[in-house]
C-alpha cells in the first residue's frame, strides 16, 4: 500500500482497527498520495485522511456501481489491460437476462429455494450452446441441494472448459461482457448516489476524479476493506463490485493497487486456509456434500475439470495428498484413498444453523476455543439461550469470559428468562495458553506465515490447544481401541502420533511439516515437498494443505525466517513465508503488459527477461516461470499448460480476470444494489427490495424491523451500525480484562449527531436506551458532529454508531451491554456471514429497565411495529410484493407516496 498513489478506505476503519498497518498509508500520504475514507462515521481514520465521504450504511454498491458507470461513460478505463487480462471480450449466451430486464432479478431464479440456476449465465459456445461442466449437468446438482450452493465450490470457482469460448476483441457485440456491464450500471448515476447513499455530487466527483487520475500506466489506486463490507447481506457482491472497478482501471496485480483485505484476527486468514469451518477442507477444497460428491470421482469432477486452465486442474493431487496425510497407509487406491472416511454435508451447517439446531436440542456438546459468542456473535440473546439447551460446554480461554459465566450473570438471568438453578448445562472452563506460551504460526492478512517461538511454559493448569486436542485425540483413540464398529475406523486409522516434549506439548514443527507435505515413495521418500506442483494423485505424496506446501521446503521452517526488514527489499521475501510459494502480490503477472514489459518504470514489479527467458522482478512471479508472454497453448491442453502468455489470473478457469462471473457467485453474475434486511428507504433501483437469495432465519427470536413504506417502519426509524475501537479487541475477551486497556475506554457508549440528540432529547454524556426488534440495551451518549445525518430518498436518515466490545458479566475490569444483542440474523448467501453492519432501531433518553420490565419494553415496541415472523422475510418483492417504485419511473423524481 505504501507505493499507492490514491488509497480508498471503504468498509474499514483502518487507523483504528489496523493502526500499525496504517503506517504504510501514512508513508504513501507523505509521498503525496491522496487518502479517502468512505464511512458512515467520521472516525480516527478520517481524521488523518484527506477527505471523508459520509455514506449511508448498506449502500456501497450504488457508489461503486456509479464509479464503474463513470469510468465506462467517460472512457477512463485502461483499455490495453482490460482487453488482454479480463473476460470483457468474452460473449455470454443468449438466454442470459440481466437485472435491468427482470427488475432486480437475474435469469434462472427459483423463488422457493432462493437459488439461481446458473446455467443461464454461462459463456456463449462456438455453436451457440453453453460452455458447462464436462459431465454431470448442473441441473442435477442444483435442485437436490436445498440450501446455499455456495459451499459446493472451493474458492477456485467452478469447472469450465476454456477452449470453446467466444471472444469479440472489438467489444462491440451486445453479448460481450463489456456491453452487459455497461447496460447493467447505466442507471447508477451520481444523482442516484446522492439519493440512495446521501453523498453530495461534489464529493462523488472528488472521489471519481481522485481514483481515475491515479490509475493507468503510471499510477495505481488501492482499495482497502474489512468487515465493513463483508458483514452485509450483500457483502460478497460489495467486494465483487470493487474488483470489477479495479480490473477496469487496471489496478489488479500491481504494486500499490489491488484490494487489500484487512482481516480481523491474528490468524483468521490461517483459520480459513486450514479451516475450522464446516464447508472447507484445508487448501479451500470443498467438504464433500451428500448427493453431489457421493463418490470420489463425483468429487473430483465437481471441483475441477482437466480441461480448465490454471492450477485448480490438479485438485485431485491435492485431495489425495490430504487424505494420505490424514489417514496414511489406511488410504489406498482401492478405498479411494479413504475418501469415504470423510463425513458429508447436507446443506449449510454454519454457526447460525448450528444455533437453531442447538435451540431444538439437537446439539449436546459445544467447544468454545478462544471465542466469546455470548457477546461477540450476533443476536446475543439467541446465543445465550441456545447454550442453555446444551448438555455440556467446554470453554477454553485466557479469562472467565461471558460465554463461560452466562449461567450466573447474563442479561437473561437478570431479566428472569433463565434461572441458574434450572440450567442443566455442565460447563468446563479450561485455561488456555497465551501466544508466548506456545510455539506455532499465525497467518496474517497478507497471507504471510510467521513463526512464534515459545517464550515461557504455560502457568498453572493452562494448556495450548495443540496439547489439549492431542491429548483428547489420544484418549478417544484409547477408548475406541478395540472397537470393530465401522464408524470408528476413521479415528483409529488417523495419523495421530506426534512427538511431545517434557510438558506433553506436541512439537508444532512436526505438525507444520505434515501440513507442508512430503514424498512417501520413490528415491526421496520422507523428504518434504518444496512446491505444490510436486504433489501427485497416485498417493506417492502427502500434504495437509497444498497452498502451504513450500513452508517447510528442504526441512527448513521458512515461517521462522527472520532476516531483518532493513536488510532486504520492500517485498522482504526472507521474512516469514507467504502462501502460495512465498508470492507477496497475487496475479503479479498483470504488473507487466501483454508483451511482458512493465507498464511503467515507476510501477515496475515483475517483467519478462528476454535473455534468461524467464520472469524476473521484486517478487516471486505468480506465473509459470518460463511461459513466454506471446505463447498460445493448444486448445485441448489442461491445467497450467493451458495458460496463455497473457493470462495473469492463473487460478481462474479461463485465466482472465472476471468482470462477469458466469459461475461461483450464487446471487448474481454482476453485483446489483439491494437494500439491507432492515432499511428506512425503498430500493430506488428495482422493485426487489432486498437480496432475493439471502439466507433467511424467520424465527420468533429473530424478528426483522419493517422497512420502507411498510406499516410500523416509523417505530424503528434510525439506522445503527456497529464498529470497533482501537483500545478494545472484538468481544473484549482480551482487552476488558486488562486494566491498562479497560481504563482507556471504560464504558459502552453510542455516537449520535447533535441533530438526533436534539430530536430525541438525548443529554450529552447522559444515558440512553437503544431498542431493536431483538433486544434493548443502555449506552452512554456521545453527541458529536462526527455523525452526519444524511438525506436519503427525500428524507433525513439518522445513523447511530455502536461499538460492540462490552458484555454483561461481573468478571471483567469493565463491562456493559453488548451491541450484538440488537443485531438480527440474515445471512449473506455465498459465505453465510450475518448482516451486522446495518440495522434499524429506536433510541430514547434514560437507562433501560431492569428485570422482566426489559422484555416488556422490547415486546411493546414489537407490537407497535406490528412485527411478525414474516416481516422482511418475503423473498420476492415483485409488483405484488412490498410497494416499491415502478421500474420505469425516473429514479430522480420522488415517488408519490411518502416512505
Amino acid at each position: 500500500m505504501a507505493n499507492a498513489d490514491c488509497i480508498v478506505i471503504q468498509g474499514s476503519n483502518m487507523a483504528e482497527c489496523h493502526p500499525v498497518g496504517y503506517q504504510w498509508v501514512t508513508e504513501a500520504k507523505a509521498r503525496g498520495a491522496k487518502v479517502i475514507h468512505v464511512d458512515p462515521r467520521f472516525t480516527r481514520t478520517s481524521a488523518v485522511a484527506d477527505k471523508h465521504v459520509p455514506i449511508r450504511a448498506g449502500s456501497d454498491i450504488v457508489l461503486l456501481g456509479a464509479l464503474i458507470n463513470h469510468v465506462l461513460a467517460h472512457n477512463l478505463w485502461f483499455e490495453e489491460y482490460v482487453v488482454a487480462y479480463t473476460n470483457a471480450a468474452t460473449l455470454v449466451n443468449d438466454d442470459y437476462r440481466d437485472a435491468e430486464d427482470l427488475d432486480g432479478l437475474f435469469s434462472g431464479f427459483d423463488p422457493e429455494s432462493g437459488q439461481y440456476d446458473m446455467s443461464t449465465w454461462a459463456y456463449a459456445e462456438g455453436d451457440g450452446g453453453r460452455v458447462s461442466g464436462p459431465e454431470g449437468d448442473p441441473e442435477h446438482g442444483a435442485e437436490s441441494v436445498p440450501e446455499a450452493a455456495g459451499q459446493q465450490l472451493g474458492s477456485g470457482g467452478p469447472p469450465m472448459e476454456h477452449a470453446r469460448m467466444q471472444r469479440d476483441e472489438t467489444l462491440q457485440d451486445p453479448r460481450t461482457v463489456f456491453q452487459i456491464l455497461k447496460r447493467h450500471y447505466a442507471r447508477y448515476t451520481p444523482e442516484m448516489v446522492q439519493e440512495v447513499c446521501g453523498i453530495a455530487p461534489e464529493d462523488f466527483a472528488y472521489l471519481a476524479r481522485s481514483i481515475t487520475e491515479n490509475s493507468g500506466r503510471e499510477r495505481t489506486t488501492c482499495f482497502a476493506y474489512a468487515v465493513g463490507w463483508t458483514q452485509h447481506s450483500l457483502g460478497a457482491q460489495f467486494i465483487r463490485t470493487a474488483s470489477i472497478l479495479q480490473l477496469l482501471l487496471g489496478n489488479m496485480g500491481r504494486p500499490g493497487g489491488g484490494i487489500m483485505a484487512l482481516r480481523g484476527h491474528a490468524s483468521i486468514q490461517g483459520s480459513t486456509d486450514i479451516p475450522t469451518l464446516f464447508n472447507l477442507l484445508p487448501g479451500y477444497l470443498p467438504m464433500p456434500v451428500a448427493g453431489t460428491h457421493d463418490t470420489f470421482e463425483d468429487y473430483l469432477d465437481a471441483i475441477a475439470s482437466k480441461k480448465q486452465k490454471g492450477y485448480w486442474a490438479e485438485a485431485d493431487a491435492y485431495t489425495v495428498s490430504l487424505l494420505k496425510a490424514w489417514w496414511g497407509d489406511a488410504a489406498t487406491a482401492d478405498n479411494d484413498w479413504a475418501y469415504d472416511y470423510l463425513p458429508r454435508l447436507t446443506g449449510a451447517h454454519g454457526t447460525f444453523q448450528t444455533l437453531t439446531s442447538m435451540l431444538d436440542d439437537e446439539v449436546e456438546g459445544y467447544f468454545l476455543l478462544g471465542q466469546n459468542p455470548a457477546v461477540g456473535s450476533s443476536n446475543g440473546r439467541m446465543q445465550r439461550m441456545a447454550m442453555s439447551h446444551l448438555k455440556w460446554l467446554v470453554v477454553r480461554d485466557l479469562n472467565l469470559i461471558e460465554s463461560a459465566t452466562w449461567w450466573k450473570d447474563s442479561p437473561e438471568i437478570a431479566s428472569g428468562e433463565l434461572r441458574t438453578e434450572d440450567i442443566e448445562t455442565e460447563v468446563f472452563f479450561l485455561p488456555a495458553a497465551t501466544h508466548v506460551e506456545k510455539a506455532g504460526t499465525f497467518t496474517q492478512t497478507q497471507r504471510l506465515l510467521q513463526w512464534r517461538h515459545q517464550a515461557v511454559a504455560p502457568p498453572g493448569e493452562c494448556q495450548s490447544e495443540l496439547q489439549f486436542f492431542h491429548e483428547l485425540g489420544k484418549r478417544i483413540r484409547q477408548r475406541l481401541a478395540g472397537s470393530t464398529d465401522e464408524r470408528d475406523r476413521p479415528l483409529l486409522d488417523l495419523t495421530w502420533d506426534y512427538p511431545t516434549d517434557a510438558h506433553g506439548e506436541p512439537d508444532a514443527e512436526v505438525v507444520l511439516a505434515e501440513i507442508n507435505g512430503r514424498h512417501l515413495q520413490g528415491p526421496d521418500a520422507g523428504r518434504p515437498l518444496s512446491s505444490f506442483t510436486e504433489m501427485r494423485a497416485d498417493g506417492s505424496t502427502s500434504g495437509g494443505c497444498w497452498i502451504y506446501t513450500g513452508v517447510y521446503a528442504d526441512g527448513v521452517n521458512r515461517a521462522a525466517a527472520r532476516k531483518p526488514g532493513q536488510e532486504q527489499g520492500p517485498a522482504a521475501l526472507e521474512w516469514g513465508w507467504a502462501w502460495p510459494a512465498n508470492r507477496r502480490i497475487l496475479y503479479n503477472r498483470a504488473s507487466a503488459d501483454p508483451q511482458g514489459r512493465p507498464w511503467s518504470e515507476r510501477k515496475k514489479h515483475v517483467w519478462w527477461d528476454e535473455e534468461q527467458r524467464t520472469w524476473v522482478g521484486d517478487d516471486v512471479p505468480d506465473f509459470p516461470l518460463h511461459l513466454a508472454p506471446g505463447t498460445r497453448p493448444d486448445p485441448d491442453a489442461g491445467g497450467a499448460a493451458a495458460l496463455a502468455g497473457d493470462d495473469p489470473f492463473i487460478m481462474q478457469a479461463d485465466g482472465k480476470g472476471w468482470l462477469y462471473a458466469p459461475k461461483g457467485m450464487v446471487d448474481g453474475p454482476l453485483p446489483s444494489h439491494y437494500e439491507p434486511q432492515e432499511s428506512p428507504v425503498a430500493n430506488a433501483l428495482y422493485t426487489q427490495q432486498r437480496n432475493p437469495s439471502r439466507v433467511l432465519m424467520a424465527r420468533q427470536d429473530n424478528l426483522t424491523a419493517p422497512s420502507a413504506g411498510d406499516p410500523g417502519a416509523g417505530v424503528y426509524p434510525y439506522v445503527f451500525t456497529t464498529y470497533r475501537l482501537t483500545e478494545h479487541h472484538t468481544a473484549g475477551g482480551m482487552s476488558r480484562w486488562l486494566p491498562y486497556l479497560a481504563e482507556l475506554q471504560p464504558e459502552m457508549f453510542c455516537e449520535v449527531s447533535p441533530e438526533l440528540a436534539e430530536e430525541c432529547g438525548l443529554e450529552p454524556y447522559g444515558w440512553a436506551t437503544v431498542v431493536s426488534p431483538r433486544a434493548a440495551i443502555e449506552v452512554r451518549v456521545l453527541v458529536t458532529d462526527r455523525m452526519t445525518p444524511l438525506v436519503v430518498r427525500g428524507r433525513t436518515v439518522h445513523q447511530i454508531g455502536l461499538p460492540y466490545h462490552w458484555g454483561v458479566g461481573d468478571d471483567a475490569v469493565v463491562s456493559g451491554d453488548a451491541a450484538n444483542d440488537l443485531l438480527g440474523l440474515t445471512l449473506e448467501p455465498n459465505v453465510q456471514i450475518q448482516d451486522s453492519k446495518v440495522g434499524s432501531c429506536h433510541i430514547r433518553p434514560g437507562r433501560r429497565p431492569r428485570g422482566p420490565a426489559l422484555l416488556d419494553l422490547v415486546a411493546e415496541y414489537q407490537a407497535r411495529a406490528g412485527v411478525t415472523v414474516e416481516t422482511g422475510n418475503t423473498r420476492l418483492d415483485g409488483p405484488g410484493g412490498a410497494p416499491g417504485p415502478d421500474p420505469d419511473t425516473d429514479p430522480t423524481t420522488h415517488p408519490t407516496r411518502e416512505n
Binding site: V48, P739, E743, E747, R786
Partner: protein, 332 residues
Amino acid sequence: MGQLAGPTDPAADAHWEHQHPRKGFFTDTSICIGCKACEVACKEWNQNPQDGDLQLLESSYDNTGALGASTWRHVAFVEQDGERIEEARESGRALVSLGMPRVGPPEARAAAEPGDSTPPDTPEFRWLMSSDVCKHCTHAGCLDVCPTGALFRTEHGTVVVQDDICNGCGTCVAGCPFGVIERRTDGTAAPRTEREGRPGSEPAVPNVGVAQKCTLCYDRMVDDQTPACAQTCPTTSIKYGDHDDMVDQARQRVAEMHAQGRTEARLYGANELDGVGGTGSVFLLLDEPEVYGLPPDPRVPTADLPRMYRRAGLAAAGMLAAAAVAFVGGRS
C-alpha cells in the same frame, strides 16, 4: 548555578563533563491517529498502576484526563467545526507575519508566503489528536525547586525523579508551569480483583507518596534504546532523537505544511528564547496551545527568583526595623 533563563545547554549547566547529545521528542500531532499506544506502552514499561475511576470522562475519546503521577503520556482529543479551523488558520498566519527571526530554512520561508498556497479541501470538520508528555524543559521549574536533589538533570539533558530519594514534599508539583509532575496518592480506583474466588491480587501500588513523571525512559536511554512510546507509535507521530535534529525536523515539517496552505500548523517549545528556554519535547500543534490544555506563555518561576529573594530580604529587614522601632520607641 548556571543562568536561570534563556538559551543554554542544560546538561553542561549540571556539570556533566563528557559531552552527551541532548535527547528529546518531536511530536507531530498532524499524523497522530489517537490510538493511545504510547499511553499503554509507557504504563507497561514503567509498571505504573491503573489510575482513573473507570468512567467516561466526557471529553470525546479521551478517558485518561491529564498527565499525572501514574499517567506519563496523555492523548488529547478535540472535535472542532469548520469555523474553528478557519480561526486556527488565521492565528497560524498571524504567527508567520510576526516575522519570527528564525522561520525555518530560507527557501521554506519564501514558499510560506500566503497567497500561492491554496489550502487543500478544507474539511468542514476536524478531530485534533495529540500525545502530551513531560516537556523536559531547558530550565525545569520542578528541578530548580526540588530541595532534596531527587530531581536531577541527566547527561542527556532530560529531567528524572529518583524515587528512592524524593520525600514527597510536593514543591515540584506547583513548580511545573505545564502541570506535568504529580505526587502519587494511592487513591487509584479500587482494582476489580478484590472479588471472591479471584486468583492473584492487584500488585501493590509502587512509589506511593513520591513525585512521579516521565523519565524519557532514562533506563532505556542509558542502554541507548528508544523510549517505549516512541518505539511503539504506529505513525511515528512521536519521534525521538537528538534534540537539535528534532527541532530541525519540526521546522521543516511546519514549513512544509505552511507551503501546503495548512497554516494552522505551529511549533510549541522550539524557541530557545521562550519562558523555559525551549523544551526537550517539541510539539507541532494545529491550534492555539490552550485548546490542547497547554499554557500559552509558560515561564519558569525560577527566572524571577532573584528578584523575589531581594523583595523577601527587604521585607525581613523591614521587620527587623519594625521590631527595633518597637523597642526603641517608647521606653515605658
